[in-house]
Symmetry: C2
Subunit: 88 residues, 2 copies
């Protein structure tokens, strides 16, 4: 039970870790300090973790990384949406 709590806590924190970034980008409509390479690289890595989680048959790894992947896609969408309106 302890390990389930650790795993689920890790999953919840990382899963929703980009929600504050989404909120900030929506509020400021500015993304110039955010690295798009970091976003692309992390999305690709998280996708591979999903595949690796399927191999390990670990539902926590699969679910957490899947939702992280979705939130990263939203941050990337906002990045390209606000990039043109961003001051140099």
């Amino acid at each position: 039970m302890f390990w389930v709590i650790i795993g689920v806590s890790a999953a919840i924190l990382t899963t929703f870790s980009f929600v504050p970034q989404i909120a900030r980008s929506l509020r400021t409509k500015s993304v110039k300090d955010v690295s798009p390479i970091t976003l692309f690289q992390l999305s690709t890595g998280v996708f591979l973790w999903i595949i690796y989680g399927i191999y390990l048959k670990d539902a926590i790894i699969i679910t957490a990384n899947f939702v992280t992947f979705i939130t990263l896609a939203i941050v990337l969408f906002l990045y390209f949406k606000y990039r043109k309106f961003t001051a140099k």
Copy 2:
């Protein structure tokens, strides 16, 4: 062997995913669009993944998240270093 490549690729991509963010922050000396809540939340989550990886006895999960944790600490350091010099 295929699954080792998937796991190692996932580890390398996520491990070094914040290196481009470190490079960008060092170059621009501006961090105002980066969410500090995202950085803190992700650091905590990654730390719990290390603990969970120790439970699973999975060296890839442990190593990848450990190095990610270090790079996130560097981004946080740069965040607090450059925050005061950042334009509103």
